[in-house]
Symmetry: C2
Subunit: 334 residues, 2 copies
């Protein structure tokens, strides 16, 4: 599929549309947690606008990834599953597979936070570790899929994954409608782009004028640069970030086809702003957020996105963070 | 009112009844946050039962106290308000007063966590500090009430406060009913006893067989001892605890009259178990919990309450904790 065809397909709703997200919401009802919408007068005062915050650390397995994993595996033919993941997709696939009675093998980077590795094993999945700088995780995943007859559950570049993650946006849309609010903008973290693709689809359906912005780590702003150039750009090798969940090498083919026409643009945020946002989420929201999960809030609080006089939806995507990293964040404000 | 009369009154619903709590829920609709019910497969496995957890750190001002404060102040004649509080009631009163257009003065111990003092001031209240070991906070509160013509908003010993806090129990009851679950027990923290009085009233209405247990810090188990003796017992002076929210000197007159016939008994938990529970809430629930807010979970995880084969409701009551104390909790599991 080339980019132009994909764009047309997305505009027609053939990659992922609101009906797919609504169908995912039905599949997830009573299974995924319907997370609330939080706000803080202190954070609103700090940005000069109104933030409505979706805390997916409270989701089962501690991140939104469970939504897409369950929505996908529930639609697969019988048999085991395999996934490659930096950690949150791993846990989502592991729990979804267990709930659906399937064996799961997860290919994870050896340097993933230990909380993510141990949680994945605890959920009953078999773990295969790889070297982030040397090995090709997609190749390892495909190899296991062929050898074991397992279905590969991709982390983002699959319409069923996007539809499942899109229930985050659907829930936000319904909640703000209930409040009688029309949001001006949304900020959503972006690794491979599955969460923001589904979320932007749902939000744009309910609020056609909304501006949806991606938030990425500085040095890993492939989506921001791809949106500017109009084609998929890879990250420049050699950068590092504490946002372990957001280090995908380039936008997905399908996710970018969805995101290109829907997103307003991309924001990049450095690690120090991420640590400060984690600290503010601790102080003002009482939610534990991991680095990658805090980057959209960091974009708002750091001024990378100007929230003044605006109502802005902010997704906190996950909370699987080792205590040592969290302590670093708590110490960051001093 | 003597204890026997009060007990009769409570059984008749004249101190606080389900109708008062339902009326409070109507007053709080769209104003207090309807917090979700969380669970964790890891915590369930640890206790050998099923825990359904109500995370009030996600409530406005970071604790359940906002509920009772708003429910009370909304029913007062016009004029300013004054309250004495170890910190969470202070913030609840400060925000409720501001939302209802009233001036608020808060009498707080000088050694309260700085996060609670600064948050209270930030909400627009005037702060008066006192010495926890030397001054009589109730006397200071009464003095300000008389001098300023302010209404005293008591922290617990008021039927309107109990009814407001009881919406915690009402929401839990409605949520578990929706899930088709009949809980065996509930564990609720207990300082002066307002939260557990309202919560036990609501839960016992919906589930007459439920066993509601208080959780208190070791050395401050006045409610546990009072339930055993059948009359209000004070704490033995000289004890210390990190649970700053739960250091009331003895059960309230009205709260004990409600609690005496409703509660199954009282549990006492030491500080080390509290720190470990805060760490588990961080790891498994992604919720920031303060020491006093974690004591009910600590009672479950430490085995002070035997959860095996039971479905147990657990209230996390607040999350206003200074970073240094939270870091101590994160380090406690090593």
């Amino acid at each position: 599929m080339n980019a132009d065809l994909a764009t047309v397909a997305a505009a027609d709703g053939t990659i992922v549309g609101i009906a797919d997200i609504e169908a995912a919401a039905v599949r997830l009802a009573g299974i995924a947690r319907r997370t609330p919408l939080l706000s803080s007068e202190a954070l609103d005062a700090a940005v000069g606008g109104r933030l409505l915050i979706k805390p997916e650390p409270l989701q089962r397995t501690g991140s939104f990834k469970f939504r897409g994993a369950y929505n996908t595996i529930a639609q697969l033919p019988p048999g085991p599953v395999v996934a490659y993941s930096s950690g949150n997709h791993a846990q989502g696939v592991a729990l979804a597979a267990r709930l659906l009675g399937r064996r799961a093998t997860i290919v994870m980077p050896a340097d993933a936070p230990s909380i993510k590795k141990s949680n994945t094993e605890r959920l009953g999945a078999r773990l295969v570790l790889y070297d982030r700088n040397r090995d090709d995780r997609e190749a390892i995943g495909r190899e296991i899929a062929e050898r074991d007859g397992a279905h590969l559950v991709k982390p983002y570049d699959d319409p069923r994954i996007m539809a499942g993650q899109g229930t985050v946006g659907l829930e936000m849309a319904l909640d703000v409608r209930t409040l009688g609010i029309v949001p001006d903008a949304a900020i959503v973290c972006c690794g491979g782009g599955g969460l923001i693709a589904g979320t932007a689809t749902a939000l744009s359906h309910h609020f056609p004028e909304i501006a949806v912005w991606s938030a990425e780590p500085a040095g890993f702003d492939d989506t921001a640069r791809s949106l500017r150039s109009g084609q998929r750009e890879g990250n420049i090798p050699g950068a590092t970030s504490i946002c372990d969940a957001l280090l995908a090498p380039m936008p997905g083919e399908l996710t970018f086809a969805v995101n290109r026409p829907l997103l307003a643009g991309g924001l990049a945020v450095d690690d120090q702003a991420v640590l400060l946002a984690m600290r503010e989420a601790f102080l003002e929201l009482k939610v534990v957020v991991e680095p990658g999960g805090a980057i959209a809030l960091a974009a708002a609080l750091s001024g990378a996105f100007d929230c003044r006089e605006k109502t802005v939806l902010v997704v906190l995507s996950g909370g699987n963070v080792d205590p040592a990293r969290f302590i670093e964040a708590l110490d960051s404000g001093r």
